[in-house]
């Protein structure tokens, strides 16, 4: 047990040396094509990765509330939003109709086996990450309460302007 704890604390210590990036993981697009998350991340502006599921009400509220901001952020600072669904492959058939019905204009990706969710150590959805244009994770947030979308929009603007909101 002691060894384990030592190993873990060492891991903690070393990991802080390097900025977090998104581990290479394969996802699917809505039409069933395979895509690596690293190829979906923008290298021209901030990328928002929002984990959601069709059965998760706070997730849908967050994505709906953030839509108004996302349109502006895309135009103004070139931000890209990836809505990554963790629905299993049965529910994934429901995603496209839902996205259209909600009027979302995000890039929707499917993490059917929850590999990316696990690789990033995410417990529950909704979970949101913001990446700078170098692909480094600079902000993370778990859960959603109304008003969080305002905070997220501010963070994206800061990241686009070159500030690191984690400091």
């Amino acid at each position: 047990m002691k060894n384990l704890l030592t190993a873990l604390s060492l891991l903690f210590a070393t990991s802080t040396l390097v900025a977090q990036e998104i581990p290479s993981t394969n996802l699917k697009t809505l039409d069933g094509q395979s895509i690596n998350i690293q190829d979906a991340i923008s290298d021209e502006g901030p990328t928002v990765i929002s984990f959601w599921a069709t059965w998760c009400k706070p997730c849908i509220k967050e994505l709906t509330a953030f839509m108004d901001y996302a349109i502006d952020l895309e135009e103004e600072v070139g931000a890209k939003v990836l809505a990554v669904s963790i629905d299993d492959s049965r529910n994934s058939a429901r995603i496209a109709p839902m996205v259209q019905g909600q009027g979302w204009e995000y890039t929707v990706l499917l993490d059917e086996n929850q590999d990316l969710k696990r690789n990033l150590g995410i417990v529950n959805v909704p979970f949101t990450l913001v990446l700078n244009k170098e692909g480094e994770v600079v902000w993370k947030h778990s859960g959603y309460s109304p008003g969080d979308e305002e905070e997220l929009a501010e963070v994206v603007e800061e990241v686009a302007a070159g500030y690191d909101p984690s400091h």
Binding site: T14, D88, S89, A93, G103, N119
Partner: protein, 562 residues
């Protein structure tokens, strides 16, 4: 312990290489942590005899996950701790230990995992290994998985191992392969130019469990297989999956030798603010476990998703549908439409309309006469897919409108009509015993109205309210619920709610169920403290459910991830 040391060593060496070549690679460590606890208070009105009141008074459980990845290498582990397991979770979780650890690497096009992994073939009708922590569900594999993409568009998976059974392993082994082919642009340019996307797949899974029954000759090897296809063109998409399982006498099916099968289809259309999906499902005798004597949520090999909407509002969630693995047939229709901005119905901001209908019933079963003893043991029943089953299990029709009224106010309204067969879904009675005494069925039907509002008090300050009403004469009778939540982004969240079961046929049970919570969030960490009374109910995720006993007390939950 030995294995743990080995694992630690591997992580160490991984760190070693990472520390040296940090500039080239830069490994990533991610992890998460959750701790839940509840102090239970004795409450004689919800639990007169004290049967649900735990001896420990305080129960707590937690886990932590760590994933380290560096280029083509990754590894991870999870530590779990139950002191003791909380009420409503499976009691098999007792104690503490490392329940999940793996090493994974990619080399020469091979993607190899040793140790624990989660995987699924297709929609999971033949095989799905997954975890749902809120449910206490975890059938992680422990073994080997190999994934490879030999040619563009083709992906192959092979798995072998045993499943997790709490702190032990399943008695049976699993061996399976899956192939999925995405008809690629390079080989089929005509499909691509016609805008057609086409995927086909097939899977095979075999389980082995030793058999030593004095009366029955039980098959030790049981095979299951499935084929599937997904086609999409423009706004249209279609999915079909068919699965078959060879004879597999089990506690679930009453040790009959009948084979099992299932079919799942979906057609959808999505374009310009309109999304429609229609699905049909039929399953017959598809219980598949690595222990033929298993029950509840233990050691399931496959996953049969529910043909019903998952509700998150509190009152509809009291009557959630759970998939009946021994047989069911159902349809689901769902339509979402966004009325555009600046139209008569859309108003200034547009309006969302969603309609959902699902209905599930038993499959046709023509039982073999018990007098024909041998044949009955062999076959149990015959089923004609073209004949409707007699026992209604569930239906749900609901319609929801969401509209932003002005910059300050958003409204949501929902109407739901519900039918729920409690004998099947709560008591787990089989079709045969229900057909013997159809009048003895406990049925529940009701109507639910919900109005939800979200009001922006000022920047980052929001007030959300919910009013819900269930009217029914069945089961616990009518209930009314009110909820208010105040959130101050990004940190604070306060919530109070009360459910009043004013229509309970038992006057002593016309109780209030108040609950108050405070949540503090900072980045990826979240702390929640709640105090109140919880109704008995069924908690479900994805059609898999567990029963939650009534309780009263103070609970907390801490989650964090990095």
């Amino acid at each position: 312990m030995k294995r743990l040391l080995l694992f630690t060593w591997v992580i160490f060496s991984a760190i070693g290489s990472f520390a040296q070549e940090q500039n080239t690679f830069g490994g990533q460590l991610h992890g998460n942590f959750q701790l839940d606890g509840q102090l239970y208070l004795r409450d004689e009105s919800i639990d007169p005899t004290g049967e649900f009141y735990p001896d420990e008074r305080f129960l707590g459980q937690g886990y932590a996950n760590f994933v380290y990845s560096d280029g083509n290498f990754s590894s991870g582990l999870r530590y779990e701790n139950y002191q003791n397991v909380m009420l409503g979770f499976p009691e098999g979780y007792r104690g503490e230990g490392i329940t999940y650890r793996y090493l994974k690497f990619k080399q020469d096009g091979l993607d190899i995992t040793i140790g624990n992994f989660y995987e699924q073939f297709g929609t999971g009708m033949v095989f799905r290994s997954y975890e749902e922590r809120g449910l206490g569900y975890d059938n992680a594999m422990d073994g080997v998985r190999i994934k490879v993409n030999p040619v563009s568009g083709l992906s192959l998976k092979a798995v072998m191992g045993r499943q997790r059974f709490y702190f032990e392993k399943s008695p049976g082994l699993l061996r399976g392969i899956d192939a999925e082919y995405n008809l690629s642009k390079e080989l089929f340019p005509k499909l691509d130019s016609a805008g057609l996307r086409w995927t086909v797949g097939g899977s095979y899974m075999s389980k082995y469990q030793r058999a030593n029954d004095p009366f029955l000759v039980l098959p030790e090897n049981v095979a299951a297989g499935g084929v599937r296809t997904q086609v999409s063109k423009g706004p249209w998409a279609m999915q079909i999956e068919y699965a078959y399982k060879a004879n597999d006498p089990s506690a679930d099916n009453g040790y009959i030798y009948k084979d099992g099968n299932g079919i799942l289809t979906n057609v959808s259309y999505s374009k310009n603010g309109l999304g429609i999906i229609a699905g049909v499902k039929r399953i017959d005798n598809m219980s598949f476990r690595t222990d033929r004597n298993g029950s509840t949520i233990d050691m399931l090999v496959n996953y049969l998703s529910p043909t019903a909407q998952v509700h998150t509002y509190a009152l509809p969630a009291l009557y959630q549908y759970a998939t009946q693995i021994n047989g069911e047939e159902g349809i689901q229709l769902e339509a979402n439409y966004k009325f555009k901005r600046n139209t008569a119905l859309g108003g200034k901001y547009g309006m969302l309309l969603s309609i959902n209908y699902s209905v599930v019933q038993s499959i046709d079963k023509d039982y073999v006469d018990p007098a024909l003893d041998t044949l009955r043991t062999l076959q149990g029943y015959y089923s004609d897919p073209l004949i409707r089953g007699d026992i209604p299990y569930f239906h749900d029709f609901n319609i929801t409108l969401s509209k932003k009224i002005n910059t300050k106010l958003k409204l949501n309204a929902m109407y739901l009509n519900l039918f729920y067969n409690r004998s099947v879904l709560e008591d787990g009675l089989g079709d045969e015993s229900i057909l013997l005494n159809p009048d003895g069925q406990k049925l529940m039907s009701g109507d639910i109205f919900i109005v939800e509002s979200l009001y922006k008090v000022r920047r980052k300050h929001y007030l959300r309210t919910e009013f819900q009403h269930l009217s029914t004469r069945d089961d616990r009778g009518s209930m009314a619920m009110a909820l208010a939540e105040y959130s101050i982004a990004p940190h604070w969240f306060f919530s109070v709610q009360d459910i009043y079961n004013y229509g309970n046929p038992d006057e002593a049970q016309r109780l209030h169920y108040p609950l108050a919570s405070v949540v503090y969030t900072s980045g990826t960490s979240r702390f929640q403290l709640s105090y109140g009374r919880q109704q008995r109910g069924i908690f479900c995720v994805g059609g898999v459910c567990r029963v939650v006993p009534p309780s009263n007390g103070v609970s907390f939950s801490l989650t964090s991830s990095f």
